[in-house]
């Protein structure tokens, strides 16, 4: 379970500071799919960054199964990401020097896990990219790169998958395809999916949807499908 309490975050802009998150509270059960929606600059990505433990909030806490990750040091946070979190970026961020297979196997190899390549290949096959396993990112289309990124985020069966506008850099048709794959693979792994999106249609496919406005998070009952 993920529990966020009274989360505050601001960024300095010249002499003043802008409050991006102003007391965010949220509880997410294991295996839930959650959409975060809101206008540009509303703090969606900031929330995701904090959930990934990549930045520290000004105040408040984020608990993963009762462990407050805001209290952890850099190495412990890295370990949390390595073992429990998968991230899907809008711009894919694959490692250009590794093949698709190498990229997907990366989280397991970082963790020193067994059968990294075999597990990665299986997941790539599930993403429809078995025949592209030995291609480098530069040899893949945008959609294919994002499928590799999704496989990389799920290969180590994380508890939580954070997805930041996963279709933001893709055309509509490819985007829809990617979302299908993301939901399908996530459902198979049973991970909690937290996704930032602009797209109401995509948000509707999540069990719950939250809207970020003026630094506050409000659950949007209309957008979410019933659990």
């Amino acid at each position: 379970m993920i529990e966020i309490r009274d989360l505050h975050m601001s960024y300095p802009v010249e002499s003043a500071s802008i409050d991006v998150l102003a007391g965010v509270d949220m509880t997410i059960a294991d295996g839930e799919t959650v959409a975060i929606i809101g206008p540009s600059g509303s703090g969606k990505t900031t929330l995701l960054v904090l959930l990934a433990g990549l930045e520290r909030p000004d105040a408040g806490c984020i608990e993963f199964d009762g462990v407050d990750i805001t209290e952890l040091d850099g190495d412990a946070l890295a370990d949390i990401r390595r073992d429990r979190v998968g991230i899907v970026f809008q711009s894919f961020h694959l490692v250009p020097s590794l093949t698709a297979l190498g990229n997907v196997a990366l989280p397991i190899e970082i963790a020193g896990g067994d059968q990294a390549r075999e597990r990665a290949l299986r997941l790539l096959a599930r993403a429809g990219l078995a025949d592209r396993a030995n291609h480098y990112p530069s040899q893949l289309s945008g959609g294919e790169q994002q499928r590799v990124a999704i496989a990389r985020a799920l290969v180590h069966s994380p508890d939580i998958v954070l997805a930041d506008e996963p279709t933001g850099n893709l055309d509509l048709r490819t985007g829809a395809n990617i979302i299908d794959i993301l939901f399908r693979l996530n459902a198979e792994s049973g991970s909690t999916l937290i996704m930032v999106t602009h797209d109401n249609e995509i948000a509707r496919r999540c069990q719950r949807a939250f809207r970020l406005n003026d630094g506050r998070l409000i659950e949007d009952e209309d957008h979410a499908i019933s659990a």
Binding site: D83, P96, S97, R152
Partner: protein
């Protein structure tokens, strides 16, 4: 660890050729250090492996006359004795050629150490004995090559016709400077006496070599105690080894410093190329961190990459450098009596490789440290960028590497003082450079708002590029600036040497220089020359060999202001004295005045500046010379300076006329005539006075040109390698700044700036860099070359600033222009594509 290594390897493989500058810089520096260090070690070990062989015995007693029988008996009681008589003279051929040689007459006990190898194989006695109506000689192969002689030919030494019976393939005690001082000619003692060359006034050296089981210091002490007050010099194989080692150390230190300088310049290339490489890896670094890779393990990946690249480059450089050292040692071994000790090569080669690794890490640590500051959160926001924070730990690591490098430099350089000077110079250079860079940046910033530049957008842009953060100014100045400094200094020295040889010497020099004219030969030599057509003038002057026995009444061996080695040199060195009449060697006074009045109680002395400096002598000091058992009191009235390479006689002292009367046995002379006549004159003198050594200026010039050619080639290689390293750095600077420049240009273009204006600003930026680099190099290069030329080499320095300026301007202009053109070509890409690429 396996994963980290795999990842590092894959990452490197995917990087293609982007890191070739990194590898080339490390390779070049390591190869030079390995080559120079390896060559030094090989020669040092090879030459000094057995200095007993080089000296010819454990100890050697040098005398200028045969030692009395009592002394010989004393020596024979304490070991085996072998005597070698040495005498410089001319060797003539049937073709009428004459060449200066060193006659060596040795007894049957020679050599006490090592082996003399003759071709065809025979004993020394067989080679130099009397047979078929002729005495035999064994010749150094240099002579057979220069004079076109073969075994069986007839040659003339003094008044004797002799037969070449053998070539000397290996002579254990062959002098290291035999090539230019006079190649050895081996003959028997009896034959030498028959040549008629040994007579009053002849300069014959008697070297008594002794093989003894006594410690050499004890032997020497006992010898001096048994024969006090004698002018015989005792040298041990250790002191001979020490002297050779000192000379080698100085030479090797100079060469190694060139290697270290190249490695240092190359280090800047390492820094720039690794920085550019890591810039391209920022997203990967951020991604890996976002995927949960700890910072320490991430650092390990890039440290491994640096290790793999610098290790491979260092290994390749060390192997190539080691190969060059072996090739160099083989060349030297053909000229010098040394055995190449291959076992001594691995250490300097491994040290060179260690230098490569350390330099790479020293320059790579800060770049890696900065790259690792990239915030993975930026991946969610589009672009990955380093933080402005400079991680202290990485700088400390870099500093630690730098400290180890400095310690190693001081340890490795044979001359520690030289090494300390090098480290200090580099430190001062960096400090000076920093001040210059700050000054230029400040000036450029101030000009930014200058009203005169309001309408000169391109110039303002160029000036802005000089003072913006991350400007390539420092790296360009340090790399191209230091290489150009070396190039300017080399160009000035070479130009001055070439001018001196090509212009000054032929006009001012006599066609023939004569040495060792014995007193009663003066008239006959003069008459022989006067009979030849075209002989314009003959100047002669006495030459008296002396030693300094006291300064201001204090014995030379007790002079308190000199150290032990200086006192030893001062009391054992020979000083050639002459008269001031004619000023035959055209020396220049720079302190005191020539005298007009005749000798009073104390003779007047003009002393050579370097001798005065070494002994700490000043005007008014009293110097007592010892000449063949007589003492000559002199007072320093003037200090003169030799004319460098134009000097023919190398007098150490010139005394007032008449002071040497009664002590003069030899004269030197200079004859002015056409060179064609000089050949005849040389033959004529060879016939009537075979002991007189004659050297044609044309021959001297040919030798000087040969030496000069080698010096020019050597300097060109030094400057070329340094320039290559700096061009590599320049490439790395451009590679590091290229993406920024293309991005800036694209943005400017998309905002409406014409491409022509962008190109102009880029050209202006590089023109400003060229101007600054040229000024820097000319000032520093002149500061090195001009004092060296005027004070040390005594060569003219007129118009050399123009030479330096032209060299620096052309090279920096061409290098930077090529760089600018390369960037301009890249800027011709369609901006829309660049914009997409930039994002």
């Amino acid at each position: 660890m396996r994963f980290l290594l795999d990842f590092a390897w894959q990452d490197l493989r995917a990087s293609g050729r982007s890191l070739w500058v990194f590898c080339a810089c490390v390779f070049l520096g390591v190869a030079l250090v390995a080559a120079t260090g390896g060559l030094y070690r090989l020669i040092n070990q090879g030459l000094l492996a057995d200095t007993r062989q080089l000296l010819g015995g454990d100890v050697e007693v040098d005398a200028d006359e045969p030692l009395p029988e009592t002394v010989m008996d004393w020596m024979r009681e304490r070991g085996d004795v072998s005597v070698v008589m040495e005498l410089d003279t001319m060797l003539g051929t049937d073709a009428g050629d004459f060449l200066r040689v060193e006659l060596q007459a040795m007894d049957a006990a020679y050599p006490l150490y090592g082996k003399l190898v003759l071709q065809p194989e025979m004993t020394l006695g067989e080679a130099t004995g009397f047979a078929d109506g002729h005495w035999g000689i064994a010749l150094d192969p240099v002579l057979t090559e220069n004079l076109g002689l073969t075994v069986g030919d007839e040659v003339y030494v003094g008044s004797l016709a002799m037969r070449v019976r053998a070539l000397v393939l290996q002579q254990p005690d062959r002098a290291l400077n035999a090539e230019w001082r006079g190649a050895p000619v081996l003959l028997s003692d009896a034959a030498l006496r028959e040549t008629g060359l040994v007579q009053a006034g002849s300069v014959v050296d008697y070297d008594y070599r002794v093989r003894t089981s006594l410690p050499t210091n004890d032997w020497r002490r006992q010898f001096y105690a048994a024969f006090p007050g004698e002018a015989w010099e005792v040298r041990s194989f250790e002191s001979r080894g020490r002297r050779i080692a000192e000379r080698l150390d100085q030479l090797a230190s100079g060469l190694l410093i060139i290697g270290f300088s190249t490695l240092f310049i190359g280090g800047l290339g390492v820094f720039n190329s690794i920085q550019a490489y890591l810039q391209s890896k920022l997203k990967t670094i951020a991604t890996l961190r976002a995927l949960g890779l700890r910072r320490r393990r991430l650092a390990a990946i890039y440290l491994l990459e640096v290790g793999i690249m610098s290790g491979a480059s260092s290994l390749a450089g060390a192997l190539i450098g080691g190969g060059l050292a072996l090739a160099g040692a083989a060349t030297v071994a053909a000229e010098l009596p040394m055995v190449t000790a291959f076992g001594s090569l691995p250490v300097p080669v491994l040290i060179a490789a260690a230098f490569g690794l350390l330099t790479a890490y020293a320059f790579a640590f800060p770049a890696i440290g900065r790259a690792l500051t990239v915030d993975p959160a930026t991946l969610f926001r589009g672009t990955a960028a380093e933080s402005a924070h400079r991680p202290a730990r990485w700088w400390l690591a870099s500093l630690a590497c730098g400290t180890i490098i400095i310690a190693l430099v001081l340890l490795v350089l044979p001359d520690t003082l030289f090494g300390a000077g090098f480290v200090l110079t580099v430190g001062l250079l960096l400090l000076l450079l920093d001040l210059v860079v700050r000054g230029i940046r400040g000036g450029a910033k101030r000009l930014d708002d200058h009203p005169a530049l309001t309408r000169r957008f391109d110039l303002r842009l160029a000036l802005a590029n000089l003072h913006r953060p991350g400007t390539p100014l420092r790296a360009t100045l340090l790399s191209l600036g230091s290489a150009l400094t070396l190039l300017v200094a080399c160009a000035m020295v070479v130009t001055s040497l070439v001018r001196t040889i090509n212009e000054t010497v032929p006009e001012e020099s006599p066609a023939l220089v004569l040495y060792d004219i014995i007193g009663d030969q003066l008239d006959s030599v003069a008459a022989a020359l006067q009979q030849l057509p075209g002989v314009v003038r003959l100047d002669t002057t006495p030459l008296v060999r002396s030693r300094i026995v006291a300064v201001n009444g204090q014995a030379t061996s007790e002079l308190g202001h000199l150290n032990r080695a200086q006192r030893r040199d001062a009391s054992q060195d020979n000083y050639d004295l002459s008269y001031s009449a004619n000023n035959i060697d055209d020396v220049t006074l720079f302190a005191g005045e020539w005298w007009d009045d005749p000798v009073e109680d104390v003779a007047r002395l003009a002393i050579e500046d370097r001798e005065a400096e070494q002994l700490g002598l000043q005007l008014g000091d009293l110097v007592t010379f010892g000449i063949a058992g007589h003492r000559l009191e002199t007072r320093i009235e003037a200090i003169f300076s030799q004319r460098g390479v134009q000097t023919r006689f190398w007098f150490e002292g010139i005394v007032s006329d008449g002071a040497l009367d009664g002590l003069v046995h030899r004269h030197v002379g200079a004859a002015y005539m056409d060179d064609a006549v000089a050949i005849d004159a040389q033959r004529r003198i060879g016939q009537i006075a075979p002991n007189v050594i004659t050297v044609r200026t044309a021959t001297l010039l040919a030798t000087a040109r040969d030496i000069l050619g080698k010096a020019v080639a050597g300097l060109a290689v030094v400057a070329g390698v340094s320039l290559l390293a700096s061009v590599l750095v320049l490439i790395s600077v451009m590679a590091a700044g290229r993406s920024r420049q293309i991005y800036d240009a694209t943005v400017l273009h998309s905002l409406g700036t014409r491409m022509a204006a962008i190109r102009r600003s880029l050209l202006l930026e590089y023109a400003l860099l060229a101007l600054i680099t040229t000024t820097f190099a000319v000032l520093l290069g002149s500061a090195i070359a001009l004092p060296l030329l005027s004070m040390r080499l005594k060569l003219p320095t007129d118009d050399l600033l123009l030479v330096g300026l032209t060299t620096a301007a052309v090279v920096s202009g061409v290098s930077l222009h090529l760089g600018a053109r390369y960037l301009l070509r890249r800027l011709q890409v369609w901006p829309a594509i660049l914009l997409r690429g930039a994002n």
